[in-house]
């Protein structure tokens, strides 16, 4: 028999097998059923085929016996489970892997450049902060001193210098951001960051380089105070998709609840319109370790509580949540919704 016909419907099976209309009864169907019983046992049959198979088995004693035999055999095999690795084996494997990773080298940027320009471009996309650092370094003539640039004038003055510095590795020259301050009078933002030496850049919030450095700080800084500052400033630009992504990243991953709370507040306005933001807020509501963040997330999703995914989360929370407050709030919100079904 043609093996490809195994998963065909009985009618097509009959046609392909050359069976006439008279034969399209028991013989063909029995053969088709036997070919598909294993898929039935493993739950891999499509609904219509399953229905057809069940109908046939209910009328055909031979096929019913075959199905029973296959089920018994499956049960026999299922007595032998693939053993889970012991904790010792898992721990030993992880340790060995860590040692291996110490010496392993990822595919180099240059080889990716040669074989995979798309990937290289993606790497570059993550390095806007580096690009600004490169410009600064280029004009400083390599002297490790502090430079100050004021506003967009410098930007035009330095825009020609990109090509000569492309060999510097991505992001490697930025060694953390030490402070972010905003002048209340001029709204100028001053960012101090360390490269070969500490550098400083000043500009308004709508300056692209300022935004790039803020995005970098929100994701990559050890100092939570700096992250709070950068997220706080980025919140003013949350209409920008890239900024929203950084805020969602901070909300999901930042270790500091203050930073997560600030990100959450900044994202609040977009819960209605941006489903990614809504999902991020729901994730915070379900998973965040800080109850303050969770309560704030619950408050933010209030306007979209009729949404299917939100309703699902609310039902889960109202049924079982460690926080009594969240449980009762979720119940209240659900009670205000019109019944479905």
């Amino acid at each position: 028999m043609n093996p490809e016909s195994r998963v065909l419907s009985p009618e097509r099976f009959a046609r392909d097998s050359g069976l006439g209309a008279h034969d399209q009864g028991a013989t063909m169907k029995c053969e088709w059923v036997r070919e598909n019983i294993v898929l039935q046992v493993y739950g891999e049959l499509a609904d219509d085929a399953r229905h057809e198979l069940e109908q046939h088995v209910s009328r055909c004693a031979d096929c019913a016996a075959e199905l029973k035999a296959e089920q018994d055999f499956h049960a026999l095999l299922s007595q032998d489970r693939a053993a889970d690795p012991t904790p010792n084996l898992l721990a030993a494997s992880r340790m060995r892997l860590q040692e291996g990773l110490e010496t392993a080298v990822q595919g180099s940027v240059w080889s990716r450049l040669a074989f995979d320009p798309a990937n290289w471009l993606r790497q570059i996309r993550f390095a806007p902060a580096l690009a600004s650092a490169i410009l600064i370094l280029g004009f400083a003539g390599g002297v490790g001193a502090t430079y100050k640039f004021y506003g967009p004038h410098t930007e035009t003055a330095t825009s020609g210098g990109t090509t000569g510095t492309a060999q510097v590795p991505t992001e490697a020259s930025i060694n953390g951001i030490s402070s972010i301050t905003q002048d209340p009078n001029t709204n100028q933002i001053s960012i101090k960051y360390n490269a070969v030496s500490t550098q400083e850049y000043q500009g308004p919030l709508n300056d692209q380089k300022v935004q790039q450095l803020l995005l970098y700080a929100a994701r990559n800084n050890y100092n939570s105070g700096v992250r709070v500052d950068s997220v706080g400033l980025l919140a003013q630009r949350s209409s920008d998709q890239q900024v929203r992504e950084a805020l969602m990243y901070a909300l999901a991953n930042d270790t500091n609840p203050g930073v997560r709370l600030k990100s959450l507040d900044a994202l609040g306005n977009y819960v209605k319109d941006d489903t990614n933001v809504r999902d991020a807020v729901l994730r915070a509501l379900v998973n965040d370790g800080n109850s303050g963040v969770r309560i704030e997330a619950l408050r933010l999703i209030e306007p979209v509580k009729a949404d299917g995914s939100v309703r699902g989360v609310l039902m889960a929370l109202s049924a079982k949540d460690s926080s009594q407050y969240i449980k009762s709030q979720a119940r209240t919100m659900l009670a205000q919704l019109p019944e479905i079904d």
Partner: protein, 239 residues
């Protein structure tokens, strides 16, 4: 490019925030098993995908901590598969090590065209298939014996595994059953064995099995059919 350059962002900016990660994972998986709410299940799956995407992007930028986080999400399943397919802890560890080192070296080429899960399984199954093929070549040297029905079984399978429970008779029967099944599995071709392993022991959908093995769902179905037919033949006296 020298390793030191890759290592720099790791050292300076390669923070993988791990806010109560364990706790979060536990809560997600706990909700999975206890609560069958499909909306929640979909959310958990979506969350895993988003988490993976972020970790992969970080790992692609050279962040080793992010890669290790990814490893921890999948390594238990990988080790279980390798252990069952290779039959020894030593070989399973080798497969585990090779698979994740290969993934680390090539993660820059990961295109998000499939899930990371499929990608890492693809690497592992390829390594296991190589292992099975090599083992088939040197099978003559294996410490096998013949049972009453003439079927071969691995002598090593008869060694008590230290997990014996309170009922020694049942344990003995289970071990014998395990040995017979292992013997029958050994008779499958590496590809049949792999499809059966992923479907029966790991519960993957045949569509996913097809993706992992670079083949179609239809071919995976046919291979599963052949594998079960062979197994039923080999174990016919046990029913």
């Amino acid at each position: 490019m020298p390793a030191s350059v890759w290592a720099m962002p790791l050292a300076v900016g390669g923070r993988v925030p791990s806010k109560a990660k364990g706790e979060r994972a536990e809560r997600v998986s706990g909700s999975h098993s206890e609560n069958q709410d499909p909306a929640r299940g979909r959310m958990a799956a979506q969350e895993r995908r988003i988490d993976d995407t972020m970790l992969i992007r970080e790992a692609q930028r050279g962040n080793r901590a992010a890669f290790e986080e990814l490893v921890r999400n999948y390594d238990q399943a990988v080790l279980r598969l390798a252990l069952h397919l290779t039959g020894t802890e030593h070989d399973a560890q080798d497969v585990y090590q090779d698979a994740f080192l290969k993934a680390y070296k090539n993660i820059g080429n990961f295109r998000f065209e499939c899930s990371f899960y499929t990608w890492i399984y693809r690497i592992v199954t390829n390594l296991c298939l190589d292992h099975l093929r090599k083992r088939n070549v040197r099978k003559e040297d294996a410490p096998v014996a013949k049972d009453a029905s003439g079927g071969e079984y691995d002598l090593l399978d008869q060694v008590a595994d230290g997990r014996a429970g309170a009922n020694p008779e049942r344990d003995l029967m289970r071990r014998q059953l395990g040995a017979r099944i292992s013997g029958a599995l050994e008779k499958l071709t590496p590809r049949e064995r792999m499809v059966f392993e992923l479907k029966h022991y790991h519960g993957l959908k045949l569509r996913t099995v097809g993706e992992i093995l670079h083949t179609t769902e239809e071919t995976a179905k046919n291979t599963l059919f052949r594998a079960t037919q062979k197994l039923r033949g080999a174990l016919s006296d046990m029913r």
